[in-house]
């Protein structure tokens, strides 16, 4: 059962990039696994590590002032590309609980929410200001209230975000979607019975 998520309160890491694709989040060479666990060390690998494997200190995730931040603030079209769920697995394993961006790719959004990784879309002006604020003040706290659908940035006005009623229920109650679907087993059976043979 997924763990219910109602509030997130954390510092943020500003990742000033648009179109962060899932190959950047986790390169294909790390997908040769049969478990969901342990992928955090490979998140953003090509950016986080130098050729010799040492950390690239220019990359924002390696900067000590952003250590332990659980919210990533990105740009536009985050998570585009491949359907690999390894991307949200890696981000969650790394320690992220929410991503704030101006938009997300469809498949990534679904995959993230299925793993309790909250994806929050806010207007461009708010997101870019938040990135600048986090750069200026890495200790800046952001509070997310899933039930109220609000993002409260320290000393600033609250922002509200959209999340469908169903997804909100899944996140805040830890609703298991397979279980939910199987509660309609009779309807599935009836549907199957009327499908044409060629289908």
């Amino acid at each position: 059962m997924p763990k219910p998520i109602t509030h997130i309160s954390s510092r943020c890491v500003p990742l000033n990039k648009d179109n962060v694709d899932t190959d950047q989040i986790i390169a294909a060479r790390f997908l040769k696994v049969t478990s969901r666990k342990g992928l955090g060390e490979h998140a953003f690998s090509d950016f986080r590590y130098m050729e010799d494997g040492s950390p690239n200190l220019d990359f924002v995730l390696n900067q000590p002032q952003y250590a332990h931040a659980r919210i990533l603030v990105a740009g536009h079209n985050f998570g585009c590309g491949s359907s690999r769920e390894h991307a949200p697995w890696a981000l969650v394993d790394y320690g992220f609980e929410a991503i704030i961006a101006t938009s997300f790719a469809d498949i990534f959004k679904n995959n993230a929410l299925k793993n309790g990784l909250l994806v929050i879309e806010l207007p461009e002006a708010v997101v870019s200001q938040l990135r600048r604020d986090c750069e200026a003040n890495p200790a800046l706290r952001v509070d997310v209230d899933v039930e109220a659908q609000t993002v409260a940035i320290e000393n600033q006005t609250e922002q509200s975000f959209e999340i469908g009623a169903f997804w909100k229920k899944c996140l805040t109650q830890g609703l298991d979607q397979v279980g939910y679907t199987l509660s309609f087993a009779d309807q599935i059976k009836a549907y199957e019975a009327q499908r044409p043979t060629f289908a």
Binding site: Q24, S82, D106, L182, A199
Partner: protein, 474 residues
């Protein structure tokens, strides 16, 4: 009320919807699985202790992590790849899923074998844990990529929880000029729209240029719908579709075929059906396309120059273009024609079907690969490979200096050891030019099979139409 093709497919597959704010349970007709995104879904199913609901609607193959070296044998040297393949083989055996493995004669890229087996049919909902599942929309089906949690969901319920998408009509009018292919067309569409214009949409490709395409060409177009951000692309089925599917191993036969075709003929958007967005494109103005950046939306004609960050395409920010050009080692205003190429990859779910290999072979025949180029042809499936060998294409490629590989995803995703090196330029018939996609630090230039073949011969990007003209006059 006139309906779009998408609305017809959606309506035909809604099993139930609890209330207007809840997602619909959408029935899934076909589920394709492979070794990389399925193991955790099988584990999840086992943890639930419930059966896989419809093994009869599921097929499996190995494509992503399997080596393509001739003479590949098991166990693989790559222990992780071996473990994934073993896990898949154990899982499909335990669940009674049809498996098209390396011994079957049908192994190949999941989006190549589905259609060639006749597993993919019009009017269906088709899913796979791979974003290029959009390929199957070429048959007039609703086909889209899913994550591993959704794979588990389909295993357990044969349904997905879905909200309807918006619809976008892409009308491609007129005829493609000689030497301009389906790959050039889809790259031109993505270059026009940008890589995320399709987010939240299903694309329907329409118009004369689309109708004139073979099924292979239509698959190339729909395959890359995801590169415009759309989970699904689709083309209404017609006589070309039916002729392709007739007598395919898993396609309906006899009376069932007749009934199926009668139904499939109803699967076109109705006259007057309204789309949420409409894009018009004139096919007659297109030329062979090349990408210059690090996403498929950063593409131009072979005879055009690299744009300047001072005047980026409307869908791209100046800083992103500058970053992409820096990664690609390209400068503003540089002509794309003449760019030196180190590696040529002909393959992937976008362009590894027989028609693609034939197009490349026509360019290669009687010529040699430039000594500075490493060139590979990776057929999409064992069936494609066998057909190509029957036509002698393998000899044409090998005589020219190409490597002729076993089927798999290979250098499109660089998981199986087939990769380019830091700084190398690869003219590739695949679908993604993301940073590091074909190997860490590698630089991908997406092109059609004929353009890739021409780049292999010349060691640089050329306009394949000029070579084709030379050949005619020679």
């Amino acid at each position: 009320m006139p309906k779009t093709l998408y609305q017809k497919l959606w309506d035909a597959h809604v099993v139930h919807q609890e209330d207007p704010s809840s997602p619909a349970l959408l029935f899934i007709d076909r589920h394709l699985i492979h070794e990389v995104t399925s193991p955790q879904a099988f584990t999840g199913l086992a943890e639930r202790g419930i059966p896989l609901r419809r093994p009869d609607l599921t097929i499996a193959t190995v494509d992503h992590s399997i080596p393509t070296l001739v003479g590949r044998s098991f166990p693989l040297k790559d222990a992780q790849a071996q473990a994934q393949i073993e896990a898949l083989e154990a899982n499909v055996k335990a669940q009674g899923i049809r498996y098209y493995g390396p011994e079957s004669g049908h192994q190949g890229i999941v989006h190549v074998i589905g259609p060639e087996l006749g597993f993919t049919l019009p009017g269906q909902t088709i899913v796979c844990g791979d974003s290029h599942t959009a390929t199957h929309g070429a048959f007039g089906s609703l086909a889209f990529g899913i994550g591993t949690s959704e794979i588990e969901h389909v295993f357990a319920t044969q349904c997905l929880l879905q909200y309807p998408s918006k619809t976008m009509a892409i009308n491609v009018n007129g005829a493609l000029p000689e030497g301009v292919t389906a790959k050039d067309l889809i790259l031109a569409i993505i270059a026009k729209l940008g890589m995320d214009a399709g987010t939240g949409y299903v694309l329907e490709f329409r118009g004369d240029a689309i109708r004139a395409l073979s099924m292979e060409g239509r698959m190339t177009v729909c395959n890359m719908a995801i590169e415009a951000g759309a989970r699904a692309g689709m083309i209404a089925p017609d006589e070309t579709t039916f002729a392709y599917l007739k007598d395919k191993p898993l396609a309906p036969k006899g009376q069932a075929w007749e009934e199926a075709v009668a139904y499939w003929k109803t699967l076109a958007s109705d006259e007057g059906a309204s789309f949420d967005a409409v894009v018009e494109l004139d096919a007659t103005t297109l030329q062979p396309m090349v990408t210059y950046g690090t996403n498929p939306g950063l593409a131009c004609g072979i005879n055009e120059n690299v744009p300047s960050p001072e005047a980026p395409p409307s869908h791209t920010q100046a800083s992103d273009l500058a970053d992409a050009l820096d990664y690609m080692g390209l400068t503003a205003h540089q002509p794309m024609k003449g760019l030196p190429i180190d590696v040529v990859f002909i393959g992937s779910c976008t362009n590894s079907r027989l028609e693609d290999l034939e197009a490349a072979a026509r360019v290669v025949k009687g010529r040699k690969v430039n000594p500075n180029v490493r060139a590979l042809v990776v057929a999409g499936s064992q069936v494609v490979k066998e057909q190509a060998e029957a036509l002698g294409l393998d000899v044409i490629f090998k005589d020219a200096g190409f490597e002729w590989r076993e089927p798999g995803c290979s250098m499109c995703i660089a998981m199986n050891g087939d990769a380019i090196e830091v700084g190398q330029y690869c003219a590739s018939t695949s679908n993604r030019n993301f940073k590091g996609r074909q190997g860490k630090g590698g630089r991908s230039v997406l092109v059609s099979p004929a353009m890739a073949a021409a780049a292999a011969i010349h060691g640089k990007l050329v306009d394949v139409r000029e070579i084709q003209k030379e050949a005619i006059h020679a």
